[in-house]
């Protein structure tokens, strides 16, 4: 059985003046490993390879990376799903500054997340028990609250590439709609007025890369459409 050809993006700011691709041959012994397991094999031989990882089951969002051109989570992406012609190219998430190898600086991504005020706002007095919410209202949060902040979507979005400082991006907007859609949140108008400028929401051009890459199967484009509808309803 031939070994898997892996081409890995390498950059160490202390020693490399520019990033380069390093070739590895990995013997997977015919197993359909996850990409993360493959990286672990590589790291056993070359401990200098850097990547983030934590839960290894697709819920923490640490190991978002670009695998043969598509963003995804290394820990839940089997080789059989991405390897083409026995070749795998691994790169960091596009559009963000690289710290080292597959590790990117996610500050801009987190800033956009914080900007939409990602927390429930409710001015009414706190009841002695929980706030009630009908199952139907709760259902509206499905497909929204499950985001793991892996940044696969935002870093696959050309609008986010061009304006990461002004366009909230699919992850942040999904989160924003998670609160707009929550029957317990009372800050709808405030949230909407923070979003009506030409960049925050309206830079979305419906390219839908976000939907294509989301490892949790979420649909930020639909959420963005809903925000637009709410803005429209609010303004007319």
């Amino acid at each position: 059985m031939s070994k898997l050809q892996v081409s890995l993006y390498r950059y160490n700011p202390e020693t490399d003046s520019a990033p380069y691709m390093q070739e590895f041959e990995v013997d997977t012994q015919g197993r359909d490993l996850m990409v993360l397991n493959l990286l672990e094999l590589i790291k056993q031989d070359d401990t200098t390879v850097a990547y983030r990882r934590s839960c290894r089951e697709g819920v923490c969002g640490s190991d978002g990376m670009n695998m043969n051109g598509t963003n995804g989570l290394a820990c839940i992406t089997p080789l059989s799903q991405v390897v083409k012609n026995n070749k795998l190219v691994l790169r960091p998430l596009p559009g963000l500054p690289v710290v080292r190898d597959l590790v990117v600086d996610m500050s801009l991504f987190y800033q956009q997340y914080e900007r939409i005020q990602p927390y429930l706002k409710n001015d009414s007095p706190v009841p002695a028990i929980e706030r009630l919410q009908s199952p139907e209202d709760r259902d509206k949060l499905d497909g929204l609250y499950e985001c793991i902040l892996c940044a696969c979507c935002s870093t696959a979005c050309p609008s986010f590439w061009w304006n990461p400082d002004k366009f909230v991006g699919p992850a942040g907007l999904l989160k924003s709609y998670r609160f707009l859609a929550d029957s317990r949140d009372t800050a709808t108008n405030e949230r909407l007025s923070d979003l009506e400028d030409p960049f925050s929401v309206f830079r979305c051009r419906g390219i839908m890369n976000c939907v294509a890459v989301c490892p949790k199967g979420l649909n930020p484009t639909r959420a963005i459409g809903k925000i637009r509808e709410m803005l429209l309803a609010n303004a007319t």
């Binding site: 609008s159 304006n163 979003l195 400028d197 030409p198 925050s200 309206f202 429209l232």
Partner: protein, 115 residues
């Protein structure tokens, strides 16, 4: 909230509505013109010119021109803010675009109502 003074309306929502409304006007105008041509197989200059002598047609056409101008501005403004990062080059490009759109608009009105 992101503020940007070169956007006319400074509201993404207005821009968004303008772009969609203007697209509808242009679509209707296009369908009308294509239909008109199809229903007049022996179209000559007199018939064509006659159409544009009608006041309603002139108003319809001006509406289509204004829509085109607005649509072009919103679209090109977006393109320049996406791709041209140095401020001075972007503002210069945007100025040229505004001037061109203005010239085309005035020219169009002149053609319709002039002579």
């Amino acid at each position: 909230m992101v503020t940007n003074i070169t956007s006319f309306s400074r509201s993404g929502l207005s821009d968004w509505i303008i772009q969609r409304a203007s697209a509808v006007v242009m679509a209707v105008y296009t369908v009308f013109l294509v239909g008109y041509v199809l229903f007049h197989p022996q179209l000559d200059y007199a018939t064509w010119s006659g159409l544009f002598q009608q006041t309603w047609m002139r108003i319809f056409s001006v509406l289509a021109f204004v829509s085109l101008a607005a649509h072009a501005w919103v679209g090109l403004w977006t393109v320049t803010t996406d791709y041209i990062k140095p401020t001075c080059i972007r503002v210069a490009t945007q100025s040229v675009i505004i001037l061109a759109i203005f010239v085309f608009l005035v020219w169009g009105i002149q053609v319709l109502w002039g002579a």
